[in-house]
Symmetry: C2
Subunit: 411 residues, 2 copies
């Protein structure tokens, strides 16, 4: 490879399989979700940060000049995975709470011991911005080892001006797509959700809108109701942010109708979504982001993925990585859960965490496919068949990761 | 380290935590299951294949002569994990069947397409013994990366004399504890289960008994009934083998009463076990081996783990690694499932896949604890708290593995 940044070439050759979503409309929905192109004995040619060639080995022409080669024998290439829903910016952990819950402790007992989301808020407020950057970078390293080359991360463990903005800075510094989850919970120093929303919009939004690409709100009993969410998201949209919602995680509280009304990019969770919600989402442009690792972690019902896809709704898959309800950054594990718990085939799962997830983070023109002109983000699976991504539950299937045309150190 | 085999010393120092089961009775049951000793700022000293010292750093005395040191800072040591139930000797895979099932195919459709256990039997019979050794070694490498230092593996994909014996040879060659699962399914060339059991006992048992340590049988509708299992296991016991059973996976067919009657070492699966079975197991010496990754993979109910432990039954945890119903070799993932799906605390899960699993494979005097005199099999977790073993769902928590006093190459 030449020394000139962006000018080097990388040839991934002799791949057992090369697989890419084949949907013609983005986000993919219905039967389009499960359409993938599979090339056998294939190559990918990258130049600088871009893919400049993809095809069967027999069509590979002789290359002049310096080219770094990566051996693809016995491996399958898929697009770099895109995690479109994480809470990767936090300090501390919740392993005490996890252990108590595993042994049967109730939420009340956990709350009495200082557990729950506010314990992470306390730890995150106590961290410096450098410590938050280090935390997000550590989490990013884990994600990379699992094949995630693009990740979204939300603030939401600050809930004060300083920590929310520091969190968004940290996420950007660590290379994440930043979402301002200003309305994650109501911190105890405020007299209710309305007063907190008032504060957040007045004191935090102006700066948050310069740092984040999207805004998000937790619509749930004990968090924010639909009216408060409408007020928050409308102001965020007016400030130029894409809007997203956490909805229907434990109870249906109007998140889907509000998402449709506001033309939100996504509504995420949906474990409690009923038939009306499925129909409403299917008629809309809003993507349903499903988080089966979170449902598993909390031993909650799985979201109605099959019903959503069959009704024609667009879905994406993400990890929900966070310290309390999904300490899991592995999209391959999420794909295994999709296949075993959600009734999604491997091809549907792949599109849901590549192309459709890229749409959720506003980058479907650049990432989520292995095709000429796309960013050269590639995962090489140590498997004879790309569907091991979902099949090899918890296994070491990520052999190599290429990010923007360069082989990544997996640590 | 000196060159003399077995004479070298390895010091693992400055461990954030060192954790070992503290049960005084083996197998641990009831409250004993959750008793672990946790030492902070600790060391482990190994000499040859054995642990010769364990304690807090302040008690570490100066060591004369050559000692290899391993840095334990920021890491936690647990005993090498013991997988006491796998089907790691097979050729081929079942990813086609997995994909069809994920997308909603019925078992009848799968059968019509050549799926199911007999497809693995066909592939395994077609493999040479060298190919089987290579397969078990590949699977063993995956296990090692997940922290498994001792694994049991069953035959059962041969179901003819030659392939069953070749499978047991291959398991031993690859370092596994061999179990003869001669009664896994009835191959189609036999006229029913009785005729097959007759053949297996007459033609295979005499040699299998020299290669295997235990015998196992699948008690289930469509496989073997309790009468056939009694005949098979009694003959195996008389030939010197420890006896085990697959029971109550889909339906209760008398496996637990038979296990108690025959003083079996274990009865494995138990997803369908009811209250009577729980009580019967609790009154016995038989270990219930729980396989939550298999239940997850097949989207089946989880076994009644909490009820078993609370009733006083001894349990162990294992992966059930196999190509059809649990393509998962990760005991850390099994521990995460134990905590989130089975209601077991991290300490209970740890004892269940170390000390109690060691008992199931007849080695509790040598492995399953970090204590002086035990084999120096150690897993170093890349985590500030050992409970991340269960908490970090699907994460890269195994930093280093020591097998019999030597640091293993994790590939």
């Amino acid at each position: 490879m030449t020394d000139a940044a962006g000018a080097g070439r990388l040839l991934i050759r002799d791949l057992a399989q090369l697989v890419t979503p084949a949907a013609t409309v983005v986000p993919a929905r219905g039967a389009e979700l499960g359409r993938v192109d599979v090339l056998e004995d294939a190559f990918i040619l990258c130049e600088g940060e871009e893919i400049v060639g993809v095809g069967p080995m027999r069509e590979l022409r002789a290359l002049d000049g310096d080219v770094v080669e990566l051996d693809g024998r016995g491996r399958c290439a898929i697009p770099g995975l895109v995690d479109c829903h994480t809470h990767a910016c936090f300090a501390g952990d919740r392993v005490d709470e996890f252990s108590l819950r595993a042994a049967g402790a109730t939420y009340e007992e956990l709350h009495a011991q200082g557990g729950g989301i506010m314990s992470t808020v306390t730890a995150t407020r106590a961290a410096t911005e450098d410590e938050l950057v280090a935390a997000v970078e550590r989490h990013r390293g884990w994600m990379l080892r699992s094949g995630t080359t693009t990740f979204e991360a939300k603030s939401g463990y600050g809930l004060d001006r300083e920590t929310e903005l520091a969190s968004l800075h940290a996420i950007r510094t660590a290379g994440g797509v930043a979402t301002w989850l200003g309305a994650h919970a109501v911190p105890p120093e405020f007299d209710g959700a309305n007063a907190y929303v008032e504060f957040a919009l007045r004191e935090v939004l102006p700066d948050a809108a310069r740092l984040a690409e999207a805004a998000d709100v937790f619509v749930e009993r004990g968090a924010f109701d639909a009216g408060q969410a409408r007020r928050y998201l409308t102001a965020c949209r007016d400030a130029g942010l894409t809007v997203r919602l956490h909805g229907d995680q434990f109870t249906e509280r109007g998140a889907i109708p509000l998402a449709v009304e506001l033309r939100a990019r996504s509504v995420d969770h949906l474990e409690a979504t009923g038939e009306d919600g499925v129909r409403a989402l299917a008629r809309s442009e809003v993507v349903g982001v499903l988080l089966p690792a979170s449902a598993l972690f909390l031993a909650r019902p799985m979201p109605p993925a099959r019903a959503l896809v069959d009704a024609g709704a667009a879905i994406a898959l993400a990890t929900d990585f966070n310290p309390g309800s999904a300490f899991c950054e592995s999209l391959p594990l999420v794909c295994a859960l999709a296949a075993t718990q959600l009734g999604l085939g491997p091809a549907e799962a792949l599109t849901a965490c590549t192309l459709n997830a890229a749409h959720v983070v506003g980058r479907a023109d650049r990432i989520g496919r292995l095709a000429v002109g796309y960013t050269a983000d590639v995962v090489l699976l140590d498997a004879p068949d790309w569907r091991y991504l979902a099949y090899h539950l918890g296994g070491p299937i990520v052999a190599d990761v290429v990010v923007a045309g360069a082989r990544a150190e997996l640590g």
